[in-house]
């Protein structure tokens, strides 16, 4: 996908979960190292340069967040994805997003994990400064907050535009429902209904209805992906 190195450090103490993580990430084309404790994570980070670090919140020796602090103090800037049990999602975990890091609540789907890692890894890439983003025949104007396909304006509510913008910015990548909730609505929980699907459905009708080809695709069991054909 986008350039840059693709080395990932997985910090996880449960051997089977760790094994599954390593396998899924390797299949997706990442180079994966494994650390089973906080101290091991610290020494591995000192030796290697990682694109993303996934870290279990509950480690046998040091709290995942504390390990992350230590890494920052050591001058290691790689984005961290904290994997946390729901009961451990507190203010410190929720505050991660502000610092450019992310968190994921257990149990998670690996597709969701991959989507998060993709999004985190991209952060270190170049930031696009354009005011008009294009995917296929769709153009969205970030200044006037309008969207059009083949020159025909699409009427969108502000929130719908935000949703479309987020999908466009993550063109070709899988965006999970939870990611949409977090980035478009700033919600850190799952409303446990199909409300997001209904909402995306409406945006999809506006964007893809009566068009030559669809742009918004459903990714079964995970979320959505916006991409041009071919």
């Amino acid at each position: 996908m986008t350039g840059g190195h693709r080395r990932i450090l997985v910090v996880e103490d449960d051997p089977e979960t760790a094994g599954q993580l390593v396998e899924s990430l390797t299949t997706s084309g990442y180079q994966v190292d494994l650390a089973a404790s906080g101290n091991e994570a610290l020494s591995r980070c000192a030796a290697g340069d990682y694109a993303v670090i996934t870290m279990d919140r509950m480690l046998p020796d040091i709290d995942g967040i504390a390990v992350m602090r230590q890494l920052r103090d050591d001058g290691i800037a790689a984005p961290v994805l904290i994997v946390s049990a729901l009961g451990e999602v507190d203010d410190r975990v929720r505050g991660l997003r502000a610092g450019g890091d992310d968190y994921l609540v257990k149990p998670f789907s690996f597709v969701e994990l991959l989507a998060r890692i993709e999004a985190l890894g991209r952060r270190s890439d170049t930031i696009v400064k354009e005011t008009i983003l294009r995917v296929g025949d769709l153009a969205i104007d970030l200044v006037s907050r309008t969207a059009s396909r083949r020159g025909n304006d699409i009427f969108l509510f502000p929130r719908e535009f935000q949703l479309l913008e987020y999908l466009v910015r993550n063109e070709g990548r899988v965006v999970s429902r939870a990611m949409l909730l977090q980035h478009v609505w700033d919600l850190h929980f799952d409303p446990s209904t199909n409300i997001i699907d209904v909402y995306v459905g409406r945006v999809r009708r506006k964007v893809d209805g009566l068009q030559a080809y669809p742009l918004i695709h459903t990714v079964r069991g995970v979320g959505y992906s916006l991409r041009a054909p071919g």
Binding site: L86, G87, P107, S109, W185, S192, G201
Partner: protein, 465 residues
């Protein structure tokens, strides 16, 4: 400060201890006044009967003088007595049948209805030597067979003022006793109310913010300290038990979560494997979907439990209900459109509460979700934000079939489903979450018949500024 004093005083005056003290004071006061009245009445009647006996003796002696020596003898006798300074308090008068004075120290016959004879009391028309003002006279009068009238009496002004003195003394003592008893009962009650208030305040704080607080002891080792000690012991027990329960459920949660994560991982791997056929893939896909449903119930339960521990109060800040409601409505706009439901926000522009935005959002979202689902196709759902008497209130109303009143309480139980909604999607945890969020925020839930439909109101407490 004067406000709290006023409140304490008001609580003192309305407390049951004070009421009982008032009843006791009233009973005590009645007995005391009965006793004082008895003493007063018997004293004054004793004094009066003594003076009456004196008058009687004097009268009998004069009457015998009249019978012995006739009118002239009596006149001489009366004049002699008046001249005697020792009995200056005595009043005499002898008058003829036309009531013209013959002898005595009264200027005129008193106005009287007692024609034949008997006791009278009157104010003499002139001052006697011993009294400055017109003296009060009690006298016996009698008409002799010859038609002459004899009056023998005594100036009882002193007697009267003596009775007045006793009366004044008794009333002042009774009044003083009542005042002292009243003040004492206010002081005692205030002390009691003060202690009970401190116990009440701690109890309220414990209900609102958690089990870590204890009722302060005064170190006086009195009955209040013993009550506080016992309540504190009880709180210790409850805290230990709650901790144990939480520990157990945390362990269960953790122990379940890990194998579930693995299970889902394996299924996903199998789902994406190349070698399996379409049927098997569909089977695995359905299993993953079911597992996800289990996980969602599981995380809802964990979430409700987590809200229950009140750990999130640290994240409380002032938020505008109107903004949150607006965002919820925006999120559910598409779902309402799909159902053909009209979803609107009405009310004030700013309704501030102190709370956790995510949780309030979740609660309102659940209520709006329910209203859209149960309101039925083509219905109307109204979200209203108001400040009612300084309290922030949000209400969510639909015009669907509603809920029978006897089930109002039930719907907040975990996994509770109404009979007719058993086959609609949902897990029966939504309202439990709303209840947990309301509890955390100290908000009261009120359910009303919207005629038709259901109106659910959340009464928050006024925001902390």
């Amino acid at each position: 400060m004067s406000g709290t004093l006023f409140v304490l005083l008001a609580k003192t005056l309305t407390s049951s201890t004070f009421r009982q003290a008032l009843i006791a004071i009233a009973a005590f006061g009645m007995i005391a006044s009965a006793l004082f009245s008895y003493v007063f009445l018997s004293t004054s009647s004793y004094v009066r009967s003594r003076s009456d006996r004196g008058i009687m003796t004097e009268y009998s002696s004069l009457r015998s003088e009249y019978e012995r020596s006739g009118r002239d003898g009596l006149i001489a006798q009366i004049q002699q007595r008046i001249a005697d300074g020792n009995i200056a308090n005595n009043v005499y008068m002898l008058a003829d049948s036309s009531l013209a004075a013959l002898a005595g120290n009264l200027r005129e016959w008193p106005p009287t209805t007692t024609a034949a004879g008997g006791w009278i009391e009157f104010r003499a028309s002139e001052a006697t030597p011993n009294a400055a003002s017109r003296p009060l006279v009690r006298a016996m009068l009698q008409t002799f067979p010859s038609g002459d009238h004899l009056l023998v009496g005594r100036d009882i002004s002193d007697l009267d003022s003596f009775a007045d003195q006793i009366k004044t003394a008794m009333i002042s003592v009774a009044g003083l006793l009542l005042v002292i008893a009243g003040v004492a009962s206010v002081l005692v009650t205030r002390r009691t109310v003060g202690r009970i208030e401190s116990i009440n305040a701690t109890s309220r704080a414990i209900m609102q913010s958690g089990l870590d607080q204890r009722i302060p002891l005064r170190g006086t080792h009195d009955e209040w300290d013993r009550v506080a000690e016992n309540l504190n012991l009880m709180l210790d027990r409850i805290e230990t038990l709650m901790g144990e329960v939480r520990q157990v459920s945390d362990n269960v949660a953790h122990d379940l979560r890990t194998p579930l994560t693995r299970m889902r991982g394996r299924l996903e791997k199998a789902y994406h494997a190349q070698r399996i056929g379409g049927d098997d893939q569909a089977l695995i896909g359905d299993t993953i979907a079911d597992l996800d449903a289990v996980l969602r119930i599981f995380s809802s339960l964990t979430r409700i439990a987590q809200i229950g521990t009140q750990a999130r109060k640290g994240a409380f800040r002032t938020v505008n209900l109107v903004e949150i409601a607006g965002e919820v409505v925006e999120l559910y706009d598409a779902a309402a459109e799909q159902e053909g439901t009209r979803l609107t926000v009405v009310g004030d522009r700013e309704v501030l509460v102190t709370g956790d935005r995510d949780l309030i959002f979740d609660a309102i979202a659940n209520l709006v979700d329910n209203a859209i689902k149960h309101g039925g196709t083509g219905g109307q759902v109204v979200v209203a934000n108001e400040n009612i008497d300084g309290r922030p209130v949000i209400s969510i109303a639909d015009d669907g079939p509603g809920i029978p009143a006897h089930e109002y309480e039930q719907v907040f139980k975990r996994f509770y489903r109404l009979e007719h909604s058993r086959y609609t999607p949902g897990n029966g945890l939504g309202l439990s979450l709303v209840a947990a969020v309301a509890r955390l925020h100290g908000a009261r839930i009120e359910m009303l018949d919207n005629l038709p439909g259901l109106k659910l109101k959340l009464w928050f407490s006024a925001p902390i500024r």
